[in-house]
Symmetry: C2
Subunit: 507 residues, 2 copies
């Protein structure tokens, strides 16, 4: 039956006419026909445990009862959801950009107004509703370059090397897309730390690259050991061509802050082995341990001398989502691209242009982070207070988390030197390991599911980030308020003790 | 030299030590090693002609002289950049969400405040700075479902089938990612209209799928001819498995609005051939021709009866960037997914979760579009005036563009029934075609480059969208103000006449 005749039929007649042969129409897109690379993707941070947490939340909302009254989501670095307040100045600038009629309002500070005006002047039609150039608004790119120069004590930064992104994740995916060749993709090795942030493994699965694991040294505060890099690289060379090394500093989920010496070693290694360096530095403002300091890969590369600084291909990623602002929902971020072949850079711009541009409100938020109030500005005091208050509380919570967890028998937690997570090692009794195996799940998944069901605390199993065989961990954020964090850690302690008892046959 | 010794050397010593053998270090990422699928991507809307326009703009800014004083960018549907004003109510709601302190301001209407409060209640910590669930904020998904039900006169819409996206482009890429299998991707055929919006061809290149062209009928107002669909499908089956059909309605770049009969035919065809339907309906509010009406693919599917409505897999895309709001920079959008296999849907959610969530300001903007002021609300009058004013002006400009272009000898322009572009056919004299060939470029690229250099008007060659062999077109937006559009069209006319003269040897 041809389509043009169809319109004269009733819906029912059409329905029965649809398949005169009576066969059921099969779906086009099924688990069998789905892109297998999508199937292979895993993303634990929003994985099964989080879906379960959602179910429990709905159950509680609908009046169901549990041994707890609320689910505490310590699974994801989502600061505002945990009660952190936005930085007033940042929101003022973005609100002014969004609704420029507010420029006439006396309740908005002049410092915010001139920033908003400057951003809008960089936007088509002076509107946040225009597309920006695909790499971002020019004056914001310039502000970012100036920020990087200041952060790196004078190391030059060229604004044309700056690309705004839709959160750091978008930048990381884009750069990997350039590096991982489609057809011989199974030959492209991407070196990532283990434990890692699972965006990396997910991207590698989606692009069908080869994941090359280098293990961080848990016994040495999750430090990166250069010998392990060599081992991983040599082993990988047997079956693929490692072309990229990814580093997360400060570490996610591991919270370590890399020393300058360590960074030098990594860069020297990348130089020698011709590796492209992807440096995930989204936690650059989140350093708490007094003996630690953030060193950017770029600055260290510069200090290694011109032979290095003029040759090692390096991309550094930053974000509005972390630091002291925690503006995840704005999906702001940037990457700085060093030593990229100019023709490849043109290809990068082309690839970015297909997605048009990153969200403008996120770009504006990024601008405030790199161009915050200065001491001579009226807004400086409040801004500084808010920033210090967030970072001070995080430092306190980092310490608290480490201390309480380390007081629990069978839990060992490295110091949370930076970022916003603890990644404690947990002892899981053999009987529990067996039970998990019988259920077809990882032992730490069993542990985290039990923790969720008994206490309402949602953390992510270490297996979602990768860990050495027969070691078990979980990742939890240190973002809840001190009061809540104290309660949470107390519950974890009680749960752990009873879990040990149960599976050690001590009850 | 091992890395640990390095730190004792000066930068210079390190530089010379870097390569003791004196060889130059090669770059890791070059045009030779770049992912060839990225190389294959083309995106004319921001392609070479737009880069050239940027160069000329900078040249003018730096005091250079040209026969014109400004570049007019009619290459991209970027309404605000062309002077369109934002819808006040939308911006009020987003500003309130961004800076909730404004809830106390008497200058914001209550209608906007309650919407902003409701959105914030759906956000973690009541902040736009939290991640939302990956498919979007629940209450916004519900508002979208309600909007679709109303638009489609009661056809049911389930909010759990709604997924917010980062502009429509993001949704389109995501769905294609599910459908195009990595390893045997060269066997997955994706049917697209020609002319098309080049996001489709770019995505197909990036994913290494097979582009299956079906040609729209220029002689019949760019209508979709079912026989041409059959032809394209049968031809493609010789070398690939067509699995998806993409439709753009109203058309981009072609501006046609599909009839209900035509949509029925497409859906019947998709039903018969087991094709997954991707319906790009971002211009659903942009219908100008009095004899045309927007029919959603979903509503037509419903009216075809339960056999169709319960089986054809259909995704419809919408956006904040077009319509009467033109909020491109917010990167807001959604897709409604019908009849997707539930297991595949879980995979879709997993894939979305890797990118965390769409920008929250864009989600809030989308909410206003689907939940605008109602007649009983105080803000209705202004909202309605602003909306009518934008759409009325667009209708006028659509008519004006068609009329002026059709009065030029050698230009033929179909009516701009909808969307925001004209895609006129231009006669290019054989001598100009030869010259272009000699220069290694498409004839319409030569034409558009000359137009840009002589008049400052930036339009996109038809070759960037696809067209029948030996036909030439360009796409221009109808977005400039009426005054500017008149000037622009006059310049196009004068340029075209002199171009014809030059290459027809009449000078």
């Amino acid at each position: 039956m041809c389509g043009s005749a169809m319109r004269f039929l009733t819906a029912e007649a059409k329905a029965s006419a649809g398949r005169l042969d009576g066969k059921m129409r099969e779906k086009t897109l099924t688990m069998d026909t789905l892109n297998p690379q999508v199937k292979a993707v895993e993303y634990a941070v929003r994985g099964p445990i989080v879906l379960k947490a959602g179910e429990i939340e709905r159950y509680l909302e609908e009046g169901g009862t549990k041994p707890f009254s609320e689910v505490i989501k310590a699974n994801i670095g989502d600061a505002h959801a945990m009660g952190q307040q936005p930085i007033t100045f940042l929101r003022q600038v973005v609100a002014l950009c969004t609704f420029p009629e507010l420029m006439d309002s006396p309740s908005f500070p002049e410092d915010a107004k001139w920033r908003a005006r400057r951003i809008l002047q960089g936007c088509g039609g002076h509107s946040l509703g225009s597309y920006s150039a695909s790499p971002g608004v020019e004056c914001i790119r310039k502000d970012i370059a100036a920020y990087i120069e200041q952060r790196d004590e004078g190391v030059p930064s060229d604004w044309e090397n700056i690309y705004l992104t839709t959160g750091a994740s978008d930048g990381i995916m884009t750069i990997l897309r350039l590096l991982v060749s489609g057809k011989d993709s199974s030959r492209t090795g991407v070196m990532i730390p283990i434990p890692q942030y699972p965006l990396y493994s997910a991207a590698i699965s989606e692009m069908d690259a080869v994941q090359v694991n280098y293990y961080l040294d848990e016994d040495n505060c999750w430090a990166l050991d250069i010998n392990e890099l060599h081992r991983a690289y040599q082993a990988a060379k047997q079956h693929c061509q490692p072309r990229v090394i990814c580093i997360i500093n400060p570490g996610n989920p591991t919270g370590q802050v890399q020393s300058k010496k360590c960074i030098e070693e990594v860069l020297h290694f990348a130089y020698e082995e011709n590796l492209f360096v992807m440096s995930d530095e989204v936690y650059q403002d989140n350093v708490y341990a007094p003996d630690c300091q953030f060193h950017s890969f770029k600055k260290v590369l510069y200090e290694m001398g011109p032979e290095y600084f003029s040759s090692v291909e390096l991309v550094s990623f930053h974000s509005t989502s972390k630091g002291y602002t925690g503006e995840c929902g704005f999906r702001g971020g940037y990457m700085e691209v060093i030593n990229m072949d100019p023709e490849v850079k043109a290809q990068l711009v082309k690839l970015l242009s297909v997605r048009l541009c990153p969200p403008l409100a996120g770009q504006a938020a990024m601008d405030v982070i790199v161009n915050p109030p200065q001491p001579e500005e009226h807004t400086f005091k409040q801004f500084h207070q808010e920033k210090s208050s967030v970072l001070g509380a995080l430092a306190e919570k980092a310490k608290l988390t480490e201390q309480i967890l380390n007081a629990v028998p069978g839990i060992k937690c490295n110091p949370v030197q930076g970022a916003m997570y603890a990644f404690p090692r947990i002892f899981i009794p053999p009987k529990a390991v067996e039970e998990a195996k019988a259920l077809g799940m990882q032992p730490d998944m069993l542990y985290c599911l039990r923790l969720l069901e008994e206490t309402g605390i949602c953390v992510v199993p270490g297996s979602g980030f990768g860990q050495k065989d027969r070691t078990y961990h979980f990742r939890m954020t240190i973002l809840p308020s001190i009061e809540k964090l104290n309660v949470l850690l107390g519950k974890v302690r009680d749960f752990h003790i009873s879990f040990l008892k149960e599976y050690s046959g001590l009850e």
